[in-house]
Amino acid sequence: MRASLFGQKIKVKQPLGTKTSHVVRFAGDSGDGIQLQGQQFTVASALAGHDLATLPDFPAEIRAPAGTRYGVSAFQIQFGGERITTPGDAPDVLIAFNPAALVVNLDTLAPHSLVVVDESAFSAQRLKRADLASNPLDDGTLDHHEVVRIDISHMTIEAVKPHGLGTKDSLRCKNFWALGLVLWMFDQPREPTQTWIKSKFGNNEQVRDANLTALDAGHAYGETAELSHILDQERIPEAPLDAVEYRTITGAESLALGLVAAGELADTELMFCSYPITPASSLLHNLVGLEDAGVATFQAEDEIAAVCAAIGSSYAGKLGVTSSSGPGIALKAEAIGLGVATELPLIVVNSQRAGPSTGMPTKTEQSDLYQAVYGRNGDTPLPVVATRSPADCFDAAIEAVRIALRHMTPVILLTDGYIANASELWPLPDLETYPDIETRRPTTEDSGSVFQRNPATLARLWAAPGDERFVHRIGGIEKDIDSGNISYDAANHQSMTNLRTGKIASVADFIDPQTIDQGHTSGLAVVAWGSTYGTIFKAVKDALIAGLNVAHIHIRHISPLPPNLAELLADFDTVLIPELNNGQLATLIRDRLCIPVQQLNKVTGQPLTVTEVRAAIELYATRQEQSAG
């Protein structure tokens, strides 16, 4: 059946179906406000009671020429009435603002997807800018998809006419027009976006009202007029959520909140020192907004100065935190070694990106694990902790700070570009339920050497200038194990090396035992770390439903490893380690546990897909009934 819309024939959209979740991708020029559209849709989904996961996909260039393929900015969200842990392998709805945005995303689309395009953007000139010889709307390219052509630009200009904006400014409202339409398609609330527009453009009534009108017009277009007989409105069931409060959160936001939460739990102020680098800068930007919650931010002249200032701050009694990405972490290595030698607490956050060298700054990877675990001169061990998802950054940050202050040591916290920018629905934690973080600050009774140690953690005292009882000198030269004075004594260096090793090993005595995230206790163990969590969770979940003998074990503590890990893995026939690198956790597990492991490695700058992980599971897992026999 065909229906007429603005003189064209288009297919009647079959209902998006009875699915309980959808993957929607917004795509356009970076100037089109795609990210904003995606973020507003995310909030609306959450308030509609859906679980969700999002993935922004920005171009590397700040303002690439309009209409080019490499200038396409995209935002993908999976939302639904079930547990959602990934932004989805393949979108089933694409909103494309121009030809380039359409063609670069075609390959990723699920079969029979719904493609909504701004038809006015498909002029000969703009087709050319996207390197297209023919119009994909007419040349059969989209035969396997359902296409809805709407002259979004024109409709927006018409809608906002009463507000008297010029054409250019009117067109800037089209992201809200399209958002209104998509909100209608999935029956999601407009109120959060209306509130956002009102606060954002509060001092410019004309722009504010035009955007509000555009949002309503897009919504009304779907509802009343022309679309209701083409598109069915989709009402997705609410997700089975717990009886708590939720909000959406990106990894960078959650990590920032986790750091200040840790400061609160430790009753200590933080000094965050960093130098801008993609994708780590978003942490700085978020912390700047939290300065009344016990953190001060300092933008240093380079990565080295940043870590040095953080260590200086820790020496002076405020916990130093520094943050960067691989290239910057490399620059910090020498100073981190000083932190280990002087036994000062320090948090080093690495938002990993594709390397080596500058690599692909906006693309994600997990290839700095070796750097974190091994990347310093000397025998210089330190704890390494990894976060698994945007919301998990909160707890991972608290854990990193807890270890640093308990053992008086630098700690590296690994996250990545994907986690930093992605968002998910977060059941809000109650900080009251978290145990306080204990520090080694001297009590009023303490006196004597700052090198008196807690026998269980081997941590020295954290005495700071200002305290007349502990006037002392520290430095990078090997120190006498008792007095802390400079020592070149051979046996002492052996003892100090043993002490440093033992101290980091003792971290394992305090961490929670490794658990199985889901699945069986034998068969195939899928062991992973970091941002692959959501994808692997979903792949294993599907495999379990399909009757495969598989388990998902996700590791937070990279070094030292959880003490029960060897025992836990001993019951499995096969260990499979999927990673976004060339096999770094695999090496570590082989080395530390002396067990054989299988690898699944991907370094395209893109996250793993559920399909890829599922395929690897099929390769190694047995059917449940077989193993039971």
Binding site: E264, A300, A305, S314, R473
Partner: protein, 330 residues
Amino acid sequence: MNALTFKDFATDQEVRWCPGCGDYAILKSVQRALADDGADPANTVFVSGIGCSSRLPYYIETYGFHTIHGRAPAFATGVKLANPELDVWVVTGDGDGLSIGGNHLLHALRRNINLNVLLFNNEIYGLTKGQYSPTSRPGTNSPSSPAGSVESPIAPGRFALGAGATFFARCVDIDQKGMPGLFNAAKDHPGTAFVEILQNCIVYNKDVFDDVVAKKNAPDNQILVQHGKPLLYGKENDKGLMLNTKTLQLEPVVLGTDGVSLNDIQVHDETNPTLAQILVDMGPGAPTAMGVIHRRTAPVFDQQFWGIRPKARKQQVNSLLRTGNLLDRR
């Protein structure tokens, strides 16, 4: 409590510089400066990089941090920002501060954070056994420049003023009388106070400053500048510096010769950065300026830093989490 003497600022550690090294006298002067000023050891921190000079903190009975090569200003910045009440000193060398650490020194000076920087300039890398440094004169023979170095040196004063220093002073390591006062002037200066100390490395660059420092040369080759006073020097105090308005240089003149009178002598204005630029590097034939060459007031970074942000925690995380768009399923 009885007032502390300079001996109270000595640690129990054996001082390990070469016998005759200029660093000994500097150490003593620092200790004396602290005693003279009634410094509180608990609130004083010496931060250093790496080099012979950077060993100094081990020998001073205050808080101290011997860090890594070149980065002392960055560590000190962290210390000062974390606790602006502390008196924070940076001890560095010509290699530590001007080659590997040039960047950090530049930014400390540019920000004008309240640190007192003592740069021991021996025009050589002492600790690594005598290679030429960024302040070595052209032609310096060293293990890494056996045919004489061919690089053109940086004058620490030029560097500092170029970076926007608000305090620059110079002294020599044998001036045990003058150093403590100068160090305390640096300490009293709000902002980054930079002191260049001409230091004799008797092993690798022996007597390189003799033309300025040696007893017989000092009177005619040094000028102690004093704010508001004419720039006079010489054994008889009959020599002076006169501004040549054509070359924009200070020229050595002799009072009473060629009609030169006291009125012709340039009066020192320590607040004038242009005059300071001329004074720090006057070239051959002119004396080397000592004392407070430049001092002016400017916004101080650590004060500005804390002026624009809360000094303590005001918000609890539990309430921060519960703002914005919440989905309440309770």
